[in-house]
């Protein structure tokens, strides 16, 4: 079975919902582990990498925590398009997509536990959940890790904890992260302050696809940087607390924009609706920034009963590999053709959304001005 048949369609994937999902798109907890007796993947010879692969793939596949039905494949057997789709779904890293023989992936049916074999470490295992569910994600991946420890021996010392290729992941090997949609803070020009404050707490703020990527569509990723010297639970709870605060700031920023500058908000949302519904060629960067305002409009109730899953679907389907997948010929599209096809898809979908209703934002204000 191909991974493209295994994954649920984009429309279905975007139906997943969780607590605070107006602002928190998803939660993720990743653990890095290595075998005790084999050198780390970046420094190992091909034979050693294959040995690690052959030890780990069956061990991971046999875990009851992953359920009966899993998808597992060696990275050299996956076509480039399939790998890119996995990256766009945030199931594997961009680094892992570049791997070939000796590296692999195991994914469960619910698409919420994904294990990368021979990425930078022998194992990068992650649990994903929609909305703000860091504790649930941690418990899920903790259970996978515990079960796996009965089958293989990990590199661990009392002093340094779990040993990793890069000392930045040493100890717990944990990376706790959440993807946040923060258009309110961006519009209110408070985002840089928030990023600086979050950085001071030892947390990193990054773009859509993690390390070294741009914050497109007002989407930011917050994650821990320190992994050694603190128990996993403390790290999870600390980030959880920070995220709840960011959520509050974003909500306040939205409210104050609605109160003080409803016309500015409506202008952004209305223009986004207009361009997405009428463009004939659009880059992914421009599309994502506009879809962000569409989603904000949905959150604020400007688009009637339009579900946020529709805007999330537009976001996902605007990505290059998802576009190519939807193309009738499934041919590799050039970037110009992609911009044309993206605009077509967005026009068709935006047509399903009713025109923005300004009364939702202006209603309260007009009442104030009306004489009794």
């Amino acid at each position: 079975m191909s991974i493209l048949d295994f994954l649920v369609p984009a429309s279905e994937a975007c139906l997943r919902s969780g607590p605070h999902d107006k602002i928190v798109l998803s939660s993720r907890v990743r653990l890095a582990r290595n075998l005790r007796t084999v050198p780390f993947p970046s420094h190992s010879k091909k034979a050693e990498r294959i040995k690690a692969f052959e030890t780990l793939m069956p061990a991971v596949q046999s875990l009851s925590q992953l359920g009966d039905e899993t998808f597992s494949e060696s990275m050299d057997k996956l076509p480039a398009l399939d790998k890119q789709v996995l990256v766009e779904r945030h199931l594997i890293s961009r680094e892992h997509a570049a791997k070939n023989a000796g590296s692999g992936i195991v994914l469960n049916r619910q698409e919420n536990v994904c294990v990368m074999v021979n990425e930078e470490d022998h194992l990068r295992m992650q649990a994903l959940r929609p909305g703000l569910q860091l504790r649930q994600a941690w418990m899920a991946i903790d259970a996978v890790d515990t079960a796996l420890q009965e089958k293989v021996e990990f590199a661990f010392t009392e002093r340094y904890g779990f040993l990793t290729a890069c000392p930045t992941n040493l100890g717990t090997g944990i990376r706790v992260s959440a993807m946040l949609h923060l258009p309110g803070l961006v519009l209110a020009e408070q985002i840089n302050q928030i990023i600086q404050a979050v950085n001071k707490l030892g947390l990193a703020v990054r773009g859509l696809y993690g390390e070294g990527t741009e914050a497109l569509g007002n989407v930011f990723q917050v994650s821990n940087q320190m992994t050694l010297g603190e128990p996993e639970n403390d790290i999870v709870e600390r980030i959880n607390k920070v995220l709840l605060q960011i959520i509050e700031h974003e909500e306040n920023a939205r409210l104050s924009q609605m109160e003080k500058k409803p016309a500015v908000l409506l202008n952004h949302i209305g223009r986004a609706y207009g361009v997405l519904g009428n463009s004939w060629s659009i880059s992914s960067k421009e599309a994502m920034n506009l879809i962000s305002f569409l989603r904000l409009g949905v959150d604020l109730g400007v688009f009637g009963k339009t579900p946020k899953s529709l805007t999330d679907e537009l976001f996902l389907r605007s990505q290059p590999a998802h576009l190519q997948l939807a193309h009738p010929l499934r041919e590799k599209l050039g970037s110009d053709e992609r911009d044309l096809f993206r605009a077509q898809m967005l026009r068709e979908r935006t047509a399903l959304i009713p025109k923005p209703d300004p009364q939702v934002l202006l209603g309260g204000r007009r009442d104030e001005g009306t004489p009794e």
Binding site: P39, F154, L163
Partner: protein, 164 residues
């Protein structure tokens, strides 16, 4: 331009650093640059990029502290570590541990693991920690010339070791 450190030789190394929003310029001759650790801007940049500002210098110090070590199991060398900021295998952590701690201090909350312990290791880790604590208490007791406590702790350690 003359070297700002020795003020004798021609400055051939020019480094611009931005820290705390302040720009700091360094113009040095090759010898002084080496002495002040400004000799390898590339390694500098990579380490800072990977490990956060300030890490490069720590790493430089770390590499000097352990000299030209290499791992007897995977062949990883000090130079490899300096270049990539990564280690080669589990055993490298034993080999390079001396210089590593100062690097770890710059990037983590502490340099000792306090998280999850594999089930198979739990007993060993717990008893190791207990023994370590008893030994620390013993040192304190001796330092304070509290010989009554010291004798008790000595017996406790003896009994604990025998029971293992």
């Amino acid at each position: 331009m003359v070297c700002q450190f020795c003020k004798l030789k021609e400055a051939t190394v020019h480094v611009t650093e931005i820290a705390d929003n302040k720009v700091k310029k360094v113009d040095a001759c090759a010898a002084c640059a080496k002495e002040k650790n400004y000799n390898d801007p590339a390694a500098f940049a990579i380490a800072d990029h990977l490990l956060g500002l300030g890490a490069a210098q720590k790493m430089e110090e770390a590499s000097e502290a352990v000299g030209a070590l290499s791992c007897d199991q995977c062949g990883y060398t000090q130079a490899d570590f300096k270049k990539s900021g990564r280690l080669g295998c589990a055993h490298c952590y034993d080999i390079f541990s001396e210089g590593l701690d100062s690097v770890l201090k710059t990037m983590h909350k502490d340099i000792r693991h306090r998280g999850k312990v594999p089930a198979a290791m739990q007993k060993a880790v717990a008893s190791g920690q207990r023994l370590q604590r008893l030994n620390q208490d013993l040192q304190v007791a001796i330092a304070q010339e509290d010989f009554e406590s010291a004798a008790r702790l000595r017996d406790e350690i003896k009994a604990f070791k025998a029971s293992e």
